[in-house]
Amino acid sequence: MIEKIDLKKVEKQTYRFTFTDGLYDMAYGSLLFFTAIAPILREILYPSYIIFMILPASLILVLGKRFITVPRIGIVKFNLNRTKSRNKIGLLIAILFPITVVMVVLTFLGLYNIKVGGYIVPLGGGIFALILLSLIAYIIDYPHFYLYAVSIGLGLPLAALLKPIFGEPLHYIISFGISGTLILIYGIFTLIKFIKKYPIPKEDISDVKG
């Protein structure tokens, strides 16, 4: 009992415990993976290929939390400071999402290429993604997001650099596919470990009589 109780450390441990299911890694890995094969999907499924980039990651998070995580480790509600952090992310996304959409639309229209040349857009996009994801990592206090930030921040300019060498779609597969697959595999292994470590309890303890 002489051991000092560091409440900040305990809170952080409790918070990070909710990320031990590997679902964020799987979701982000799948997002990168489908980005990598987007040029191939575009050829086959245009224009519905966009769904493949968004849907798997969303489904992994929503269904995974509901049917895998919660039955195994239960539910926790964090204090106001953590809730505020999540609101900040909401605000950040609300501001940056329209900007991103405008940038993507302008890129598709080819406006950037006319005025500023081919490498500026991917480099700008990479820096933008790096800053955005690093901010999210900082706000939600989840270090893996820094890795995500670097993978996409480097991936965009790398794809532009590799395109003249390898051509499409190999430049995307190298830039995003390798990191995406590695993050996805890491997420799957983490999830398997999580499932083994925390089996669903046999008795129903969601409604305990007080």
């Binding site: 480790i73 926790v76 969601s206």
Partner: protein, 108 residues
């Protein structure tokens, strides 16, 4: 004993003045885990504390009897769900416990 001496003794925290309900390791673990969150359900507490269902249930009952924790019934979809939350009294008792323990070890 003079009045002054009595005052001094009152200010020194002795092991006897420490809240024994919280001091028990399993309950201290429960109180600490609940102190850092808004609320948590029974399963989450089991995972965090490493206690079995029976053990946790028994300690929770004691803490609830003392008015340190609240058991909140809510519904997730149509399924009833039990959330556990530290009461104001529980938070105050835990703060007091920490203060006393700190002072006690500082004075050793």
């Amino acid at each position: 004993m003079s009045k002054d001496k009595n005052n001094i003794i009152d200010k020194i925290y002795t092991p006897n003045s420490i809240d024994k309900l919280i001091h028990e390791p399993a309950r201290l673990n429960i109180m600490t885990r609940l102190y850092v969150v808004e609320s948590a359900d029974f399963l989450f507490m089991m995972r965090q504390t490493g206690l079995t269902f029976g053990n946790l249930s028994a300690h929770m009952s004691k803490l609830e009897e003392a008015g340190y924790i609240d058991i909140i019934k809510e519904f997730i979809g149509k399924k009833p769900h039990t959330m556990l939350k530290l009461t104001k009294k529980g938070r105050k008792a835990f703060d007091e416990y920490r203060k006393k323990m700190k002072q006690f070890f500082n004075e050793l």
